[in-house]
């Protein structure tokens, strides 16, 4: 094999943020295969320094519009731990409900709007409005309902309003939650089943490619861990979230404004597929059935199957949302004020599963409740090294295909990770020197 190959996809489309795919092969020898992150650095540390604990989540949720809820909840958990603020069971349940909504919203957006056009060989979702109107309408309906959860519980699906340190500024009413439940049962469930059918029809288009790697996600004793749990690796098992730096080990590479990560190997995978591999035993029956229909098996190491894992866990989120609403209504909603009286000032860590994988925030506060140190590690940043490793294995395997086909496989590979590039270049990894 003596092929020369020079692929340069500038500003990859249908991903969040700006990234380029660059592959260089000279006489059959792969010189370069990497995802360059060219998103402008954000420097969130400059924004957070000295800010009040009231503002930390407001600012960090602006790291990313798509993952804003995830950032917000993770930030609140870190702040609450640092300041010793206890939250009620109602607060935890409402937050779990919000995470389900955000996960469904993001997964539906990715599967239908960003990934599906690849399977159908079109440039965007817009041509599908004419060719597959019922599918587009279903996708819009599902996304809307997922967003409704955010609107009702947090005031807004993008950059939520009501979740604050210690609780919520407004508690949804029983009538609002009952209505959400009705829509989840009457609309979301049938739409999810139809989605599984649609995905099954497209499954033949998913490239067959495998590369064993380390999968890292949260894992808890009682549920499909999204809100909290231990950090769990398919290589080394569970460690508490206080050990997160040992599991991330950030480093700078020249081709990316986002830092890269590694744990026990050269790279690792976070996201829906990692959650599936670690927690498939905790999924509800509907999701388990969806996995079976779609051929998703434990131990799966085909990154392209991440989209399938997203669909599967969306089913779980819908079912569990109904269970959470039932629990809230059964106990009765209380008009609680947020608990904002700090009992200590120190360092706190929040770790949450957001749609693209495990997200860490860590803050240190001074005695005035102002931030002195902050660190955020973003799922997309954690996946970047794994993406590069995938590309290095994939390109030689498909090198005898056309350049267009290779490019298309590479683009689909990156999109399968559903990367959130704005997030990854937040740049919030600094201990301030006072």
């Amino acid at each position: 094999m003596t092929r020369n190959l020079d692929i340069n996809v500038e500003h990859l489309t249908r991903v969040e943020g700006h990234g380029n795919i660059v592959v260089n092969m000279k006489e059959g020898r792969l010189e370069k295969a990497q995802l360059e992150i060219v998103e402008a650095p954000r420097y969130f540390e400059a924004m957070l320094k000295g800010r009040s604990f009231h503002e930390a989540a407001i600012i960090t949720s602006r790291i990313c519009g798509i993952c804003s809820l995830g950032h917000q909840i993770t930030s609140l958990k870190a702040t609450e731990q640092a300041l010793g603020l206890e939250v009620s069971e109602q607060t935890v349940l409402l937050r779990k409900l919000l995470i389900h909504g955000a996960t469904m919203q993001s997964n539906v957006l990715h599967a239908y709007f960003l990934a599906a056009p690849d399977f159908l060989k079109v440039g965007s979702v817009f041509p599908l409005v004419a060719t597959h109107p019922e599918v587009v309408l279903r996708a819009l309906r599902m996304k809307k309902l997922a967003n409704d959860i955010g609107d009702v519980v947090s005031g807004r699906a993008v950059h939520p309003i009501t979740p604050v340190p210690g609780g919520f500024t407004r508690i949804p009413t029983a009538a609002e939650l009952t209505e959400l439940k009705r829509k989840l049962e009457e609309q979301m469930m049938p739409d999810l089943i139809a989605t599984v059918e649609t995905m099954k029809a497209l499954a033949g288009e998913i490239p067959q490619f495998e590369r064993p790697t380390e999968f890292i996600s949260l894992r808890s004793d009682d549920d499909y861990a999204l809100y909290d749990g231990d950090i769990c690796s398919t290589d080394t098992g569970r460690v508490p979230d206080s050990q997160y730096r040992r599991m991330t080990n950030e480093f700078v590479v020249p081709h990316s404004t986002s830092k890269h990560c590694k744990a026990n190997r050269s790279s690792y995978f976070v996201g829906a597929l990692a959650r599936w591999n670690n927690n498939h035993d905790r999924l509800c029956d509907l999701a388990g059935g969806a996995a079976e229909t779609l051929g998703l098996k434990p131990g799966c190491c085909n990154p392209y199957m991440n989209t399938i894992a997203q669909v599967v866990e969306s089913a779980h989120c819908a079912v569990d949302s109904v269970a959470i609403i039932d629990r809230l209504l059964q106990v009765g909603l209380k008009d609680e004020e947020p608990n904002q009286e700090p009992t200590r000032y120190g360092t706190g860590i929040g770790a949450t599963e957001v749609p693209r994988g495990i997200l860490y925030h860590e803050y240190t506060y001074d005695k005035q409740g102002r931030i002195t140190a902050a660190n955020c590690i973003i799922p997309t940043g954690q996946n970047l090294e794994n993406i590069d490793d995938d590309m290095k294995k994939l390109v030689p395997e498909i090198v005898d295909r056309s350049k267009e086909e290779i490019t298309s496989w590479l683009e689909m590979l990156v999109r399968a990770y559903d990367p959130c590039i704005s997030c990854s270049v937040h740049m919030l990894d600094v201990d301030f020197i006072e």
Binding site: R14, V38, R42, Y43, K49, F113, P117
Partner: protein
């Protein structure tokens, strides 16, 4: 309208939450698509043709490359609409301008700082002519629809100049000051229907300052409600650091 306007959507430094909010018009998306041809939208599609009637642009300008790109977009767009706090007034990004940029870069990237060029964050209007604005963080959806409809009808959108308080009072929300919180509503531009106070949270000022704001008066109000002068100023800077540059704190 004889021909559908060609619409393009671009993003610069920001979180892309405004673009996501455009995709979140689930109920209106098909109506919107019926009135325009979307010709460029990296987040949602592949195609890339040349000229457009309306360009919606999100994000601040913060690298030399951004400056080049925005000039190019301005050249190709008949109407340029800044969307969201980052594009309109610099937004959250403006806070990085408060400290010396070299110091910030070094703190984040250490000795690798020269790998990534950066500039102080700027709103679009600091570099090119902006025809209309959709404010908010994320951009206010009702305002986007108003601006969009006005442009499709060929009329000038009306941009609100009164304060968030006016809309908050129309909705009879409990004043967040009454609850012992602080609020930037009195000097922040209306247009969001007082969304945050309606949900019990204080106004963080994301829609920018009203024209000719009485900043001294606002600072006094915040100090009266328990903030230090420095803290009051910081609260005002959250979304308006660029506008407040050079204003005595």
């Amino acid at each position: 309208m004889a021909q559908k306007p060609r619409v393009a959507i671009f993003d610069f430094t920001g979180c892309e939450g405004c673009e996501l909010n455009q995709l979140n018009f689930e109920d209106q998306l098909l109506d919107i698509l019926a009135h325009v041809d979307i010709v460029e939208w990296r987040e949602a599609m592949d195609d890339r043709p040349g000229e457009y009637d309306i360009a919606f642009v999100e994000g601040s300008l913060s690298t030399p490359d951004c400056i080049k790109r925005i000039h190019e977009i301005r050249r190709r767009a008949k109407v340029l609409v800044a969307v969201g706090a980052c594009a309109v007034q610099g937004g959250i990004n403006g806070m990085k301008n408060i400290r010396p940029i070299e110091q910030v870069r070094e703190e984040v990237y250490g000795e690798d700082k020269y790998l990534f060029p950066t500039l102080p964050a700027l709103p679009l209007r600091a570099v090119v002519k902006v025809d209309h604005e959709v404010r908010g963080c994320p951009m206010t959806q009702i305002e986007f629809l108003k601006v969009f409809t006005a442009l499709v009808m060929g009329k000038e959108p009306i941009e609100p100049t009164s304060s968030v308080c006016t809309e908050c009072k129309l909705k009879e929300n409990e004043c967040v000051f009454t609850k012992g919180m602080i609020c930037l509503g009195p000097v922040t531009r209306a247009g969001c229907d007082a969304h945050c106070p309606t949900f019990g949270q204080y106004c963080t000022g994301c829609r920018g300052l009203v024209p000719e704001p009485n900043l001294e008066g606002m600072k006094e109000i915040l100090v009266e409600h328990g903030l230090s002068v420095q803290e009051a100023w910081k609260r005002l800077q959250l979304y308006n650091a660029v506008e407040l540059e050079g204003v005595r704190s």
